[in-house]
């Protein structure tokens, strides 16, 4: 007989040991699968995997940049999820932020001085993301609509909107591509710190991480978010204006998503495509949950996901395997990591066959 009970609290050392064990186990299973399917030596594969993330200075920078963007979006989603508002609209909020950035760069590119242009981009991208999250938040606060569906569908609206403007701005005509915006003048490109292309993004996200930690842990707002998340009735009872907290939190959530769009369009890609968010609006949900909404732990969980993605794509390049194989490995590792959370939260007891159980089963 198996009995599952909820654990009280597990000491950190023990929970980390379980997580570590799950990663080791997942690597063993990945090794078995790799050997059976490809005949490759699993140790070689792991070395390649590791090299994909850390193999060169450039790879480390790319790794850090990818972590920064994923972390930024995860941080944006965190206050909403902590409040149990299922914001699945990160993707769309990033897209409209990117769209607003691109609009400034294209329409104002050679008309106003660069610092002013960048200021416009920052303001409009944050506003666009905030508005995109505000709409479902207002509906939730006023009429208690289902935010999961609403935010999800806002993603499709955003994608179509971006697709429309790509056709308006495409170069050359009919190609369905904008290309790099202001490639010759670099107008509206976020400044580069020294020789490091991605350093600015990384610093900005690091600052947001600290601010978000302080916001959630030490401010009245942060406290209200956790109370609303635990129970709206309790919140109401202690005199918290729940609709107000919902709207305010979603404004913040959308604003940071919009800011992530700014970092992508203005900071690194300098173009706009419908796939620029690349599913990170959803991956961010996993990052936030794995880290139990602690911004500093989220550095770890986003590192883990980006590390696996980079490593997995290196495998497909190095061994000529299909990308799907890399996805299989990523899936296995995630399965174990998420599974380990189950063993951390719940206790499993294999009880002996007793009279009592026997009776209960008859």
């Amino acid at each position: 007989m198996i009995r599952i009970t909820k654990r009280k609290e597990m000491p950190l050392s023990q929970s980390m040991a379980i997580r570590g064990l799950s990663i080791v186990l997942s690597l063993v299973v990945c090794g078995i699968i790799t050997t059976i399917l490809t005949g490759l030596n699993p140790i070689d594969v792991y070395v390649t995997f590791f090299n994909g993330a850390f193999g060169s200075a450039r790879k480390i920078w790319i790794l850090l940049q990818e972590i920064a963007i994923l972390l930024c979006i995860s941080l944006a989603l965190t206050p909403a999820f902590k409040m149990k508002f299922w914001n699945l609209g990160g993707e769309g909020q990033v897209l409209v932020g990117g769209l607003a950035t691109a609009a400034c760069m294209i329409l104002l590119g050679d008309k106003i001085p660069n610092p002013l242009l960048i200021a416009c981009m920052v303001v409009s991208s944050i506003a666009a993301g905030a508005v995109w999250a505000l709409i479902p938040a207002l509906f939730k606060a006023k009429w208690n609509t289902n935010e999961t569906l609403f935010t999800l569908m806002m993603n499709y609206v955003a994608t179509q909107l971006v697709a429309y403007f790509i056709i308006v701005w495409e170069v050359p005509k009919g190609s369905g591509k904008i290309g790099i915006i202001n490639q010759s003048t670099e107008a509206g490109w976020l400044p580069q710190i020294g020789d490091y292309k991605y350093l600015l993004n990384i610093i900005l996200v690091a600052v947001i991480t600290v601010l978000m930690y302080v916001y959630l842990k030490y401010t009245k707002h942060g406290y209200e978010i956790s109370v609303v998340g635990e129970s709206t009735n309790t919140a109401r009872y202690v005199g918290i204006n729940v609709p107000k907290v919902i709207v305010r939190t979603l404004l913040l959530s959308g604003a940071i998503c919009g800011f992530a769009g700014l970092l992508l369009v203005g900071g690194t890609d300098h173009t706009l495509t419908t796939t620029i968010a690349n599913g990170r609006g959803f991956t961010g949900v996993m990052v936030a949950w794995l880290a139990k909404f602690n911004p500093f732990s989220m550095i770890g969980s986003s590192f883990l996901l980006v590390f696996m993605e980079r490593g997995a794509s290196e495998i497909s390049t190095a061994y000529g395997l299909n990308q799907s194989f890399a996805d299989i490995l990523t899936g296995i590792i995630l399965f174990f990591i998420i599974g380990s959370e189950f063993f951390i939260t719940y206790k499993i007891k294999f009880t002996k066959k007793t009279e009592e159980v026997e009776k209960a089963n008859v």
């Binding site: 030596n41 170069v171 050359p172 009919g174 490639q183 796939t275 000529g320 026997e358």
Partner: protein, 424 residues
């Protein structure tokens, strides 16, 4: 109760089995490391025998992987070109699923870091990022297929390539026209019912050039032919392409062709029993009863040419246009059970004329624009945001396609072709 005990037992058994497989893993791990060692040895002897290919290391970037017919065409060409040049599989590098954004620059830079001295990319949207990488790595050659900017960018190490695929389309059109003639002769349709349908991706010059040459090919043998074109707004959208083809068939089109990369249109044709002229490669296996012929670009000649140039230390053309003569434009697998009789002979004849220059696809005496002959046309050869026409491309009685740059720039709407939607 019995079931519970059994369950417990089987769980234990499972653990045992798990242990067993761990041992199996350990064994197979040893076995595979052994075989790896031997393959490593054979690789080093390979390198010893072909000394001139020792320093060359090509890198390839593709938008999707083998599941896209478009990228598969490039990946196969990359493998074949390397094989023919004696470059071992461990030497060249292939990065698939690289999106058209900063990832492309990163991928190119990583390939450069890994020691590649020539790097190829296959998708139109990769171009700007390839240019960015080319500026940063002046000693490495960057070759971009289907791009338009190399001739104006002024970089020594950045190159564009395309093929005169309009000639292939024209030949495919001839095969389509012969099929229409067969239908007219057999009384299946009347001459003025000879209407073709075409599923295009975007209203982009590459697509316009493609469907116009296809139409002119058909018209050269079947003068009464007309054509309807619908656009999907995507290079790969199976559902939209299937729906587009079905719409055209319901509209009375008796033959379909397409310029998009999925199996959508060929499948719709097979289901409806309407003949189809395919693209990117044969679709005969999936559509044995309707597939006539397919045209495609063969990238092997370009890859071999560019890699060879790096090996020899010679310059690569800024803008390289493959032709029928270089083997870059191909017709694949004429399906004789569907195509009209005598198609192959006719194709050989027309192909000969195209190659010796006695026949031009865009001969201005064969088509009209708004009822008038096209005597002069300024095309947008130099890509810019404002889409400004800059180069006169009509002379000597024909439109000079792919001569002022390799990527197509024919974007004229000629009479006889009706566009059903131009939203994209």
């Amino acid at each position: 109760m019995k079931s519970i005990t059994e369950h417990t037992f089987s769980r234990r058994q499972f653990v045992k089995l798990g242990g067993g497989s761990a041992i199996a893993l350990a064994l197979s791990g040893c076995a595979s490391s052994g075989s790896n060692a031997s393959s490593g040895a054979s690789a080093s002897t390979d390198a010893g025998s072909s000394s001139d290919s020792a320093s060359i290391k090509p890198g390839f970037i593709t938008l999707h992987d083998e599941n896209s017919t478009y990228d598969l065409n490039f990946i196969n060409a990359a493998k074949e070109a390397c094989k023919e040049l004696g470059i071992s599989e461990d030497t060249y590098m292939l990065k698939t699923n690289v999106p058209e954004g900063q990832e492309c620059y990163n991928a190119a830079a990583e390939l450069a870091d890994a020691g590649c001295n020539i790097i190829f990319a296959d998708s139109f949207g990769h171009e700007d990022y390839m240019i960015q990488a080319a500026k940063e790595f002046p000693d490495i050659q960057f070759c971009h297929s289907t791009g338009t900017k190399a001739h104006t960018e002024g970089l020594d190490n950045y190159h564009n390539a395309f093929a005169s695929i309009y000639e292939g389309r024209y030949l495919a059109g001839v095969a389509a026209g012969m099929k229409l003639n067969e239908m007219i002769d057999s009384g299946k349709i009347t001459a003025d019912q000879a209407k073709m349908g075409y599923v295009g991706a975007y209203t982009y010059a590459e697509v316009i050039s493609g469907y116009t040459s296809f139409y002119l090919g058909a018209k050269s043998v079947c003068p009464s032919v007309t054509m309807e074109v619908t656009f999907t707004g995507s290079w790969y959208d199976e559902t939209a392409e299937k729906e587009g083809a079905t719409k055209l068939i319901n509209d009375g089109c008796v033959l379909i062709s397409q310029h998009a990369d999925s199996m959508g249109a060929p499948t719709a044709c097979e289901n409806a029993g309407v003949p189809d002229v395919s693209y990117n490669g044969s679709t005969q296996d999936a559509c044995p009863n309707t597939y006539i012929i397919s045209s495609r670009i063969n990238w092997v000649p370009y890859y071999k040419y560019a890699i060879q140039a790096v090996m020899d230390g010679s310059a690569i053309d800024t803008d390289w246009t493959g032709t029928l003569s270089t083997g870059s434009v191909e017709l694949t697998d004429l399906n004789t059970s569907v195509a009209a009789e005598g198609t192959q002979d006719k194709l050989n004849e027309v192909k000969g004329k195209l190659e010796d220059g006695s026949l031009h696809v865009f001969d201005t005496s064969t088509f009209t624009v708004k009822g008038a002959k096209l005597d002069s046309y300024k095309a947008d050869v130099d890509t810019d945001a404002n889409y400004t026409p800059d180069t006169e491309v009509v002379s000597d009685g024909y439109f000079h396609e792919s001569e002022y740059r390799s990527a197509p720039y024919f974007d004229v709407q000629i009479d006889g072709i009706e566009l059903l939607d131009t939203a994209f």
